[in-house]
């Protein structure tokens, strides 16, 4: 069927973009470029969620990572730079070798494990026709089954952000590392 192969092509393209941007995010020296590569990678991952059939989670992923985490990352990268040109790499060759060997070994293990499992070659089940059911189901689940986790999540996020603001607060008057880059007035 044409839709299925087009879907496969779209999926392969998005997957390639995610992995390529992830590799850039991990390898680049310039932290701003690495930060942007990470943001592209995670936003494209949101696109993969949309292709897999739930719009809501893809939209939440894009909203969270490009709206909130991106700004945080970029500001922290800016506030922790000492010189514009950077100082080259701090990693020695054996760091790369160990990291490559361990993560490559894990990937090989997972690859072999996935291919050997007999259930994982099944095809795509049809998309649930009333897709609005999922969003309403979310709302109902939040008010019926997952109500307590929702409240706990609210408390946790409040505590996290108050804690983060307190940790990052400048302590003395002359100690602000970002004092020459004031945002706003």
């Amino acid at each position: 069927m044409p839709e299925l192969s087009v879907q496969l092509l779209i999926f392969m393209f998005l997957g390639t973009v995610v992995l390529a941007c992830a590799i850039y995010a991990v390898i680049l020296v310039d932290l701003i470029r690495a930060g942007y590569a990470l943001i592209f990678s995670l936003a494209t991952l949101g696109g993969i969620y949309i292709v897999l059939g739930n719009d809501f989670l893809g939209a939440v992923q894009i909203l969270l990572y490009t709206g909130a985490i991106a700004v945080l990352v970029l500001f922290v990268v800016m506030l922790t730079r000492k010189s514009v040109d950077g100082m080259g790499r701090a990693e020695k060759k054996q760091d790369w070798i160990w990291g490559g060997v361990l993560s490559g070994g894990l990937f090989l293990l997972l690859f072999i494990g996935i291919n050997k499992h007999k259930d994982f070659a099944s095809g795509l089940p049809p998309i649930v026709p009333q897709s609005d059911l999922t969003l309403q189901a979310f709302g109902m689940a939040f008010t019926e089954e997952y109500f307590v986790p929702l409240q706990i999540m609210g408390v946790l996020l409040t505590a996290a952000f108050i804690g983060a603001a307190l940790i990052a607060r400048p302590e003395k008057k002359g100690d602000e590392s970002g004092k020459d880059m004031g945002a706003g007035s």
């Binding site: 044409p2 470029r33 719009d55 894009i62 909203l63 709206g67 969003l135 945002a183 706003g184």
Partner: protein
């Protein structure tokens, strides 16, 4: 609330009918049909909105000129209508200068990145009945998610120019945009309670029915009116238009993040700004002004639904131009205090008012009137109290001394 059955005239579905007829010609070749379907849905968006943008640049210059008691461009073509073609040619043939210290890849990437989200977001708007390009049941969240990319692109433009003005300009834009995102999204959410769904098509359909198909729009309710005004102000701040255009003002920090851009890249930034203006105006008409609902006589709608949507969207764009010609620019701290101290509490109370209205509107006519009045009183008093606290508490009465 009211779900009317409107029999529309044949001009309403003419594009949908043409689309289906054209695709049925290729029923024998499914992959070609699929490719043509995708092309037929996306190419009109890519053609229509830049053309409207060209018309809007002309309208902006003429309207601003008339407000400022001068003529505006009237030489190129009849009434100066072809001015935007002349501007386009000028932008294309200008030399593209990239500063030597700038990060070349990021400097070129920023204008490309900033023009993508407005196009993506314009496909989510319900332009007419059955005429939405991307129908999704979470269209509203997708809209706000995709428009967050523009902020990142402006910051990238500011950062990659390696110029102190650009960096400060970029940071100001980020601070402004994230401050106004909260009132924007919460004001949009107040329209979701009545519709009961995040899908834009459902929000428009829930504003149908009613007297003449007009009185059921969301803007006639107290929370709808306040929400519309809040949404419009926050939307102006999101797209960096007057009176919130510190980032791009020529008399401010040179030109902010646009300082090192010339030629076509500069033009791309303005294309992105105008298209974002269309997107915000389109979303405001969808949420509050009834979308493609137009007046109905009996059972026949007077003019096609897409015509009503475009007229309302364009009227809001003209109001944006009018505001640009009238109001002075806000300072950064005035801008921040407007967002956090005034708009955000008002938006939260607006949500409460919308919830009260939604609960009482289902329960019968007297309860509906009571709900309308209660939410009006709630929002009105909050507004007066906030104005008193934030803006007039320490204001001294002005003394005028004439020489």
């Amino acid at each position: 609330m009211f779900f009317g059955n409107v029999k529309f005239d044949s001009g309403d579905q003419i594009f949908v009918w043409a689309y289906h007829w054209f695709l049925s010609l290729f029923a024998a070749v499914p992959w070609l049909q699929f490719a043509l379907a995708v092309l037929l849905m996306t190419v009109p968006v890519l053609l229509l909105f830049p053309t409207l943008m060209g018309l809007t640049t002309w309208a902006e210059r003429r309207v601003l000129a008339r407000i400022q008691n001068r003529m505006g461009p009237n030489r190129v073509g009849p009434f100066g209508l072809l001015q935007f073609i002349a501007d386009g040619i000028k932008m294309l043939i200008k030399e593209d200068i990239i500063p030597r210290a700038a990060d070349k890849f990021l400097h070129t990437l920023a204008p490309i990145l900033i023009v993508i989200p407005p196009f993506l977001v314009l496909t989510l708007l319900p332009v007419g009945r059955n005429m939405t390009v991307v129908v999704s049941d979470v269209g509203l969240i997708l809209f706000f998610a995709l428009s967050g990319f523009g902020t990142l692109a402006i910051f990238l433009a500011g950062w990659s120019s390696r110029n102190k003005f650009s960096v400060i300009g970029g940071m100001r834009v980020v601070a402004q945009t994230i401050s106004y995102e909260l009132p924007l999204i919460l004001a949009a959410l107040s329209a979701v309670f009545v519709a009961g769904s995040l899908s834009m098509v459902s929000i428009v359909e829930s504003q149908g029915g009613g007297f003449l198909n007009i009185l059921s729009w969301n803007v006639w309710t107290p929370w709808g009116f306040a929400g519309f005004v809040i949404f419009f102000i926050a939307g102006l701040a999101e797209i960096n238009r007057c009176p919130f255009d510190i980032p791009e003002a020529e008399s401010e920090i040179v030109a902010g993040h646009l300082t090192e851009y010339s030629g076509f890249k500069y033009a791309l930034f303005f294309v992105a700004e105008y298209l974002s203006a269309f997107a915000i105006a389109g979303l405001a008409t969808t949420l509050f002004l009834g979308g493609w609902n137009g007046p109905v006589i009996g059972e026949v709608q007077i003019l096609p639904s897409w015509f009503w949507f475009l007229i309302k969207m364009y009227a809001l764009v003209v109001v944006m131009i009018w505001i640009r010609g009238t109001l002075p620019r806000l300072r950064s701290d005035q801008l921040m205090s407007l967002a956090w101290k005034f708009l955000l509490p008002l938006t939260i109370v607006n949500l409460i008012g919308s919830a009260i209205y939604t609960l009482t509107a289902q329960a019968g006519p007297w309860m509906w009137v009571a709900g309308w009045l209660i939410s009006a009183v709630l929002i009105g008093t909050t507004y007066r109290v906030l104005v008193q606290i934030v803006y007039t508490k320490d204001a001294k009465k002005r003394e005028y001394r004439y020489a």
